[in-house]
Symmetry: C2
């Protein structure tokens, strides 16, 4: 039992690292097993296919991220402060990733959306569900801020989606330029998108 | 001469279609040549490597897109109207792509940024240059709008980058959800980011 779950965890950890590094398509099951230090035969004991592995990697990644998002976005802090803290945590996480690996891996969910959604309907469906959950979490905070008169939005869901889109776009730039600098503007861009103040995109640093 | 440049063009066209469909990593030179209908030997007559091919595909893609962006963003229309027309053209292009292929391919530059930048420094450098050109084109319009008092931004470059990030984020959603609906909000999101009016993200449709 102990050894069995060890092998599964080793495969998942290796797959997550390799997917972050090189994406999904270029990976083979043999390479994942070699990196995990488990015999190739054991892969299919745990996972039906490489696609099934990808779905599990996505689920585990989002479970950890959702836990962080929920802790921040459902806290007792004032609504807009919760959004600010989410962007601060996102920037800190990518900064730590860069220090550990030398490069910014970006958002695994965004990476796999662009790489896989036109190749796997199962992955497309799962990633759609996850982004809807992200929009749900942001929308609840926007609604709270709206009821306090702190933001001015015509549609809380569309605005929440615009905030998530801004996050994905700036994380793309952070990965491409290999610097967390683009993430420093997220809070101001979010305020602007929510009509929280008139002009709020600060100077680039 | 005629036949030689034909073969090069066939390889480029096949590579562009295949990269749009499946990304870069999963492709092999043999597959590209087969799709192009040219012998594999001729590939290396035109391209030093698969990476060199990717750089050429990126350059040709951006040359066409830059021409469209320049035509719209340097037109005689009023500054903010030029931005609105850019988003309208972007939406129309993705709608046409969806009608032709059945799926939205997304932004090739964004797709390859996430897939390739941590694997090829040459591709990373080229894509950085291209996104700087995009920000240049948008920033010139923001500056013109700012001088007319139509927008309120603290830093025209950071604001222009936020607009491009929003575009990339919403195109990611268009690809993931395989619908152009997310692109319908681009103009309103852009106005909000530029402080062009207080609350401007419209309801989702």
């Amino acid at each position: 039992m102990g050894r069995t779950s060890d092998a599964r965890k080793k495969i998942l950890d290796a797959a997550q690292s390799l997917i972050e590094l090189r994406g999904y398509s270029a990976l083979g099951v043999a390479e994942i097993c070699k990196a995990a230090g488990v015999p190739k035969g054991s892969f299919y004991y745990f996972f039906e296919s490489k696609e099934a592995l990808a779905l599990t990697v996505i689920d585990e990644h989002w479970a950890a991220e959702r836990s962080q998002w929920s802790r921040i976005l459902k806290s007792d802090a004032e609504p807009l402060e919760r959004l600010r803290l989410l962007f601060e945590a996102t920037e800190a996480q990518h900064r730590a990733g860069r220090e550990n690996r030398g490069s910014i891996a970006g958002c695994m969910l965004g990476n796999l959306s662009l790489e896989m959604c036109n190749q796997s309907e199962a992955v497309r469906d799962r990633l759609q569900e996850i982004f809807e959950e992200q929009v749900d979490l942001i929308e609840a905070v926007v609604t709270a801020a709206q009821s306090r008169g702190e933001v001015t939005v015509a549609d809380t869901r569309a605005s929440a989606r615009a905030v998530v889109a801004q996050l994905e776009g700036q994380v793309l730039f952070a990965k491409l330029y290999n610097t967390t600098a683009p993430l420093g503007g997220l809070w101001a861009n979010c305020q602007a998108l929510l009509g929280a103040r008139a002009a709020s995109v600060p100077a680039e640093t």
